[in-house]
Assembly symmetry: C2
Homo-oligomer: 243 residues x 2
DNA sequence: CGCTTATTTGATAACGATCAACTAAAGTGG
DNA sequence: CCACTTTAGTTGATCGTTATCAAATAAGCG
């Protein structure tokens, strides 16, 4: 397999301050075990399973979710290009949630067993990984605050703004439009709202001229008002500090 | 300062599989910069600040929370002995939440700048840190599922069972009783419920003989029924897999 | 002994869930 | 090629869980 480290790999993105050494590059090549291409609807990782793989999303989008005993589904977050998947399983030994593709996806696969080698031999990459974990933890904390303290319209405004930011950062924005190939049910499950109420709330935002989401495309027409509605503190783009 | 690595430090707890080397022990000593003792009500870390410190909780309890612009407060989680605090600030450069002591607390303080040294010189400890971050991320995911998919009585049952488990693991259990020195308002803010409804729901659990929480002590009388009520999948104790 | 904080309880209101039905688009198979 | 099915989105009506308001009790505490 001829390859350089994946172009969209977060381990690469985060490395702008600490460039790869030749040794690291060759290690990355051995760390990567292959690319995975999946169709929409495919379950990439299954709750309770013991996956030997870690992944990086190279393209496509998906959902990370838990299923409760009563059948209800909670989408923990959406997966976008550049996201890292499976660190929990990689490090804890068992998946605590499932991952499903919403679009065709290509993923960069790593061997879990190589994680330890990474830590031993490439502390800068290990630090990158922990940085990623810390950033993710931060977003989960914000999600908790949304579910706990925001009402329906605030939650949806918050989600749309954050998703827009994320996709913009991933370079997928064109004139305030970003691709958002999920169903309303997915957003509802992410925000703890019913499908019906999610639909009606989206209609409200639409009729107010704030945001439009249809045919897999999200367009934010008034980000300032949306951010204000959602009580979002203007967040500087995440950027890793120099070591 | 004469010291060994703190007894309750998670970096020590998690190291049962990879014991400290003499070199590491001496590093831990230099890594630790001191102990912090604070009174109830003290804000240990403030949202938006740029703390140069990381902490480990040695004793006492506290809350980790965010405050929204409208003044509402979301408790992200409770802090118990053994918990690690400030990794986000340590690695991202800025606190995204506040930390406040609910009881007198003693904390073990580390210099943030030493984190990188830790990664470079002690990969096993760095791996421990990432393990901790992954476990925390898992719990946040479960919290999201609770806020999104469980109703009031399920949320409270879930929280009480999880808290009980956590305190038991910390060795604070005595005959199904654990210390829980928080206010009902804290639990309400953690679960996204109003104080009034939290109070009424606790009463329901009490009258059903399932759980009793008063005077800072939580007693679970019927854990099986509570876990069933909360739809908790029986979770094996978190234990780090061998490398 | 007033003052504050935490808990408790009842009454009322509202936000969002649930139920039901309909439209539109996209397969699918005979 | 057209019934038939399935999936996603939309809308209206009703119900219920939970928030909000109000007030009372009780426990520290200067």
């Amino acid at each position: 397999m001829t390859m350089t480290a994946c172009k969209n790999c977060p381990l690469r993105q985060k490395s702008m301050f600490t460039p790869f050494t030749q040794d690291e590059l060759s290690f990355m090549q051995s760390f990567k075990t292959g690319e995975l291409k999946v169709d929409p609807g495919t379950t990439i990782l299954l709750e309770g399973s013991n996956s030997p793989q870690l992944y990086t999303v190279l393209s496509g989008m998906g959902t990370r979710y838990k299923t409760l005993e009563n059948g209800r589904r909670q989408v923990i977050n959406f997966l976008f290009p550049g996201d890292f998947v499976g660190l929990q399983a990689g490090i804890m030994g068992e998946m605590k949630h499932s991952v499903e593709a919403s679009t065709p996806m290509t993923l960069c696969a790593f061997r879990r067993d190589d994680l330890w080698t990474l830590f031993r031999q490439h502390p800068a990459r290990a630090y990158d990984l922990t940085w990623i974990a810390a950033v993710e933890e931060h977003f989960l904390g914000e999600t908790i605050a949304s579910l706990g303290q925001r009402d329906a319209i605030q939650r949806i405004a918050w989600a749309l703004v954050r998703i827009h930011e994320r996709l913009k950062a991933a370079g997928l924005q064109k004139a305030n439009r970003v691709p958002l190939p999920f169903r309303q049910q997915d957003l509802a499950d992410a925000l703890g709202l019913s499908l019906v109420h999610t639909n009606k709330t989206l209609k409200t935002l639409r009729s107010k001229g704030l945001a439009q989401w249809s045919d897999g495309t999200l367009e934010l027409r008034d980000i300032a008002t949306l951010a204000d509605l959602a009580m979002i503190d203007p967040e500087r783009p995440q950027q890793r500090p120099l070591l």
